[in-house]
């Protein structure tokens, strides 16, 4: 055989060229076989038997071997094989059990040579001896294999598999006398051609029929078998017992298997049903095909490598009546397409990352084949795209942890657990939360809480009545422009993001006609003296006038107009220093220009569109305090909340919303609030912070949210004595007239938290039961049950 291959190689010493191409056949193909010159291919099927020349760009029909008007059943081929030594010799296996040989050298149109009608049923396979010109082997559905000498009219010997149908027969390439046969019952037999009486060895290779087998072209001991069990197995036959060395799982039953030339670990398979693709596998990587040819639209029935030493050309015939030439480099490579990395952002900000471990190792692991030097042939190995995948790929999976501050969510949990949202005065809540935030190193948030406290809880600020709510409403818009400020002047020293632009052209529908330059100054002075964190841009407050005047005047002119300036997104001051206000005179000048210097804080306060009722009284209070009214800030607070939400800190948004309650709620539209609540609750639940989540639900004012708590709140109680459902309210069972929920420890009726054992249904006060079970593991009721409190 060694000699043989050399001869073959020498014959086709020029490199094969060609393209991926296909041609249409007249009928479905059952089998194909390549001439040893690699330039012709024979296609055989139930109603086709043709030879095609493989040209550079196309297949060209050379010869139709189906001659005669009435093709006999002898021409209905199940298999075809082209002799690898004699270019004129072909053999076919007919579905009626006939084995036919063909001599292309015959001068007549009919090339049929010999006819062997010895098998009783379909012949599944024919095979020429690799180095003996006249020896032909056949395997049939009738369970027999026959060896023919083409110089004689009858078979030389008959081998009985002693079992069901023979699916494949293959001469060993290396061992002159050996052939392998595969059977429908899952067995593989090894025969010595000289000993037809019994097989040399037999083993069960597959679960179910073994459809095909192929000897490794180089490694003498290796036999690949494919079966209906969707597996391809590679056996080492050199050992005493056939040893399974590789196993490839395909996704459909394996109809054909062919070792890839020059690639020690590669083999091509096609399937009998379902799957129309041809796969090339690296047997060391049994899970993913190295390459895949997807051209066929119906079952692929025959595959053949075009040249025994060229790994790049594969020919195939199919039930879809096409003949294809596939180029390995055009194959789709599932491995290439496969995602080598997995990435997942965990809940706590941790990151799971799986990456291929041997990206580099695989490259360097490329090694030349042993057969290389013996066959210095045309193929450029480096182009072989399959080789980099040699060997098993593996991945390393690591979980990364974020350090606090970057992406870790530990702050979220801590904050959620420690924040106080209700039950204390606002100032305390703010202080507490500020402290929590500061302890967690979240200074910006801490600062925000502090500012909120200052804004909303100045000492003198008493909760205002809603006296003016109606006052604020119903006013008309479009009042004459009264005054305007240019805040830019004032914003000096502030971070750019705190700029609050207000153009001169803003419509200010000021109503209160006051001349309050003095007050304005006072106000500004106050701001300074307080040393608060209140951003300077709010100073425009031009807090004018005594409140009573304001109060008196307002009813006529209060307005609901929306402010027309727009805050930049990051409008919320991140960290403020006390900013020196611009020199008074300028400002005064500005005001003096306008005829009505007035209480524009009213509109400032009514920033949010929904707000039509703001309290003017609070303005006056603020003035008592020499402060600005909290409402004045609500727009900014709202913007701040939005800012936090956008930064992914919906926790802050919701917490502030809850703590401030009515003070800001009306300024943020319902839908946004709901969305925040829903997001926050969802987050809390993901972190299993059920209590906090419940608190938030409880404290939320949005109907859609608070009703979350009202789902499935029914508790069905059965009497612990008579086991009947308790129909009436109260704790006395109607039927047995006893108190149902007695504490097993203190024998009093339990009202409130009642804990009971699911095993024996006894229970009682939570405290009592817990205490009891600390000392005893038995039920306090004395029923003998071993209760457990978890």
């Amino acid at each position: 055989m060694e000699k043989m291959s050399r001869v073959t190689t020498a014959l086709s010493s020029s490199a094969l060229t060609g393209h991926t191409m296909h041609c249409h056949l007249d009928a479905p193909a059952n089998a194909i076989s390549v001439c040893r010159d690699a330039a012709q291919v024979v296609v055989a099927g139930r109603s086709i038997f043709k030879i095609y020349a493989i040209e550079e760009e196309q297949f060209v029909e050379k010869l139709n071997l189906r001659v005669g008007r009435k093709p006999s059943l002898n021409l209905s081929c199940a298999d075809v094989v082209w002799h690898q030594m004699d270019e004129n010799l072909l053999a076919t296996a007919a579905t009626n059990g006939v084995v036919v040989t063909w001599n292309l050298g015959r001068p007549s149109r009919n090339k049929q040579d010999q006819l062997f009608t010895e098998h009783k049923r379909t012949v599944n396979k024919v095979c020429f001896h690799p180095s003996e010109a006249h020896v032909l082997l056949s395997g049939s559905q009738d369970g027999f294999m026959k060896c023919f000498d083409l110089r004689r009219k009858d078979s030389v010997s008959t081998f009985s598999g002693q079992s069901e149908s023979v699916r494949d027969v293959q001469f060993s390439i290396r061992d002159y006398f050996t052939f392998a046969s595969t059977f429908e019952n899952g067995n593989v037999q090894l025969w010595d051609i000289r000993r037809p009486d019994r097989c040399e060895r037999m083993f069960t290779a597959h679960n179910g029929p073994v459809f095909c087998c192929d000897w490794h072209p180089e490694d003498r001991g290796w036999l690949a078998t494919g079966g209906r069990d969707k597996m391809v197995k590679v056996w080492d036959m050199t050992t005493q017992r056939a040893k399974e060395v590789h196993c490839v799982q395909t996704i459909a039953s394996v109809a054909r298997v062919k070792w890839r030339p020059e690639c020690r670990h590669h083999l091509a398979t096609c399937s009998m049903m379902v799957d129309h693709n041809i796969y090339v596998w690296d047997v060391r990587r049994p899970f993913v095909p190295a390459a895949m040819f997807e051209e066929h639209r119906d079952v692929t029935t025959g595959i053949a490598w075009r040249h025994p030493h060229d790994p790049s050309f594969l020919l195939s015939g199919s039930k879809d009546s096409t003949l294809c030439q596939h180029l390995f480099r055009d194959a789709s490579q599932p491995v290439e397409r496969a995602n080598p990395e997995g990435l997942c952002y965990g809940l706590f900000g941790d990151l799971a990352f799986a990456a291929k471990e041997s990206l580099v190792a695989a490259e360097s692991g490329r090694k030349p084949y042993a057969g290389d030097r013996r066959h210095p042939i045309f193929f450029k190995r480096k182009l072989d795209p399959a080789e980099p995948f040699a060997g098993l790929a593996s991945s390393a999976l690591s979980v990364f942890e974020m350090e606090p501050g970057s992406g870790s969510m530990s702050w979220f949990v801590d904050t959620a657990e420690r924040y106080a949202l209700a039950g204390r005065p606002l100032a305390e809540l703010c202080d507490h939360n500020s402290k929590v935030a500061r302890e967690l190193g979240r200074n910006q948030v801490a600062q925000t809480w502090t500012m909120l406290r200052i804004i909303y809880c100045s000492p003198g600020l008493v909760p205002t009545t809603n006296l003016n709510h109606s006052v604020g409403k119903g006013s008309s818009c479009g009042l004459p422009l009264m005054n305007s400020f240019n805040l830019k002047d004032m914003a000096q020293g502030l971070g750019s993001e705190t700029r609050l632009d207000r153009s001169k052209g803003d419509t200010r529908s000021d109503t209160v006609l006051l001349d309050s330059s003095a007050t304005l100054i006072t106000n500004e002075d106050n701001e300074e003296t307080e040393g608060s964190d209140v951003p300077a841009d709010y100073l425009l407050g031009d807090a004018e006038g005594e409140d009573d005047e304001l109060y008196l005047l307002d009813p006529d002119h209060a307005h609901t107009e929306e402010p027309e300036y727009v805050l930049p997104q990051e409008a919320f001051p991140l960290r403020h220093e006390i900013v020196d206000t611009p020199p008074g005179p300028e400002n005064l000048q500005d005001k003096a220009d306008s005829p009505h210097v007035s209480g524009s804080e009213a509109d400032v306060a009514s920033l949010a569109p929904m707000d039509s009722s703001f309290s003017l009284v609070s303005v006056s209070h603020a003035l008592y305090d020499s402060r600005l009214p909290p409402d004045f800030f609500s727009a900014l607070v709202c913007d701040m909340l939005r800012f936090y939400a956008e930064q992914g800190d919906v926790q802050m948004a919701v917490s502030v919303l809850i703590v401030l309650g009515e003070r800001v709620r009306k300024d943020i539209d319902e839908q946004t609030q709901e969305h925040w609540y829903a997001s926050y609750i969802d987050l809390l639940q993901r972190f299993c912070l059920w209590n906090v989540s419940n608190q938030v639900v409880k404290l939320s004012t949005s109907r859609a949210i608070s009703c979350l708590n009202q789902a499935s709140t029914t508790l069905h109680v059965n009497c612990s004595h008579c086991k009947r459902p308790m129909s009436s309210r109260g704790w006395v069972c109607d039927r047995c007239h006893r108190c149902a929920s007695m504490c097993a420890v203190c024998h009093h009726v339990v009202k409130g938290l009642f804990v009971w054992c699911q095993g024996c249904s006894h229970g009682g006060h939570l405290q009592h039961i817990m205490k009891w079970l600390e000392g005893s593991s038995h039920c306090p009721a004395g029923c003998g049950h071993l209760c457990e409190y978890s």
């Binding site: 996704i251 991945s395 930064q647």
Partner: protein, 322 residues
């Protein structure tokens, strides 16, 4: 910034293609070319193998956890053209459903937001996307979008649940009228947005074009209090885009190039608060990105396989933050 806390010994016999943590971050599911899906308990830095799920006949590409309100459910998709839905019952994991409606490898699975019920979107190499809806009693309803992406679909990602208008406006007792949407990325270099019409049919709503090669992953950002919709996409061309849509009514999406890498970018993944994007590329590196105040995306950290390293910009961005 980032440190390895755990290297999980998965004992997978081949490459791992996906790793997903569950809703509570306590379990990690991995899938591999070796046809298996494994589930690990990773609480407290541990790694206890809980289940080794066998049933696929080809490499398993992706896994997805369903919301825990439906129980412990995991979906996996494979090269064998199947989607398998696994469920834990009494501590053991079993296959509850097998979907075989695709003609080629199924590359991506993603569960819809829990508000819609149990709906699974599957993207396949046959170009189709199928939507499996649980209709109760072990029955799954299948809808298929054929030719969603020519040559194949590589990734699907659901939009977070959004209700048009306030919840309050919904007629009480009725299920809110959700607008269901998801994004898909495919071999036609496109990202497509799909929307369920009122008649229950899925319609292509938008085509986002920017990539010049296969789109490998799309990730719709969780909407945590955000008014804008954001999608991250990555591609074979090495580019990562962040798409935003400020105005839901006009539905115009604008891309912003996050970065151009030198190699294929395989995955993008959002942190749960949607402010950090993790990107993994062909060079075995994960980078973390954050949007700075001026709207630029900055790399705040890169994680090399096996070790964490801190890039200089981290400190900067932290300062910005505070």
């Amino acid at each position: 910034m980032v440190s390895v806390i755990n290297t999980v010994d998965t004992s997978h016999e081949d490459m791992i293609h996906d790793a997903q943590m569950d809703y509570y971050g306590t379990r990690l599911a991995t899938c591999s070319s070796d046809r298996s899906v494994k589930i690990f308990d990773v609480r407290n830095g541990g790694q206890i193998l809980i289940a080794d799920l066998r049933g696929h006949e080809g490499p398993v590409w992706q896994v997805a956890w369903a919301h825990p309100m439906y129980g412990n459910i995991l979906a996996s998709c494979s090269y064998d053209r199947k989607v398998i839905i696994w469920k834990e019952e009494n501590g053991t994991w079993e296959k509850t459903h097998e979907h075989t409606g695709h003609d080629s490898s199924v590359n991506s699975v993603c569960w819809a937001p829990h508000d819609y019920g149990l709906i699974l979107a599957c993207g396949s190499s046959d170009g189709a996307i199928s939507l499996l809806t649980y209709t109760g009693e072990g029955q799954w309803d299948v809808k298929k979008i054929n030719n969603a992406h020519t040559i194949g679909c590589n990734a699907v990602s659901w939009a977070p649940a959004v209700v048009p208008g306030s919840l309050i406006d919904q007629p009480s007792g009725q299920k809110p009228n959700y607008i269901k949407k998801f994004a898909s990325g495919g071999c036609d270099n496109l990202i497509k947005l799909w929307k369920e019409e009122e008649d229950g049919q899925w319609k292509e709503e938008q085509k986002l074009e920017a990539h010049s090669d296969w789109v490998r992953d799309v990730a719709w950002a969780p909407s945590i209090g955000l008014p804008t919709s954001t999608i991250a996409s990555c591609s074979q061309d090495g580019r990562v885009f962040v798409w935003t849509c400020d105005d839901a009514s006009s539905n115009t999406w604008s891309p912003k190039l996050l970065h151009k890498f030198n190699d294929v970018v395989w995955h993008v993944s959002w942190s749960i608060t949607a402010n950090i994007l993790a990107v993994s590329g062909g060079d075995n590196k994960v980078t973390l990105w954050k949007e700075s105040v001026d709207g630029q995306w900055v790399c705040i950290s890169d994680v090399n396989k096996g070790q964490g390293s801190v890039s200089a910009s981290v400190t900067e961005s932290q300062q910005n933050e505070q």
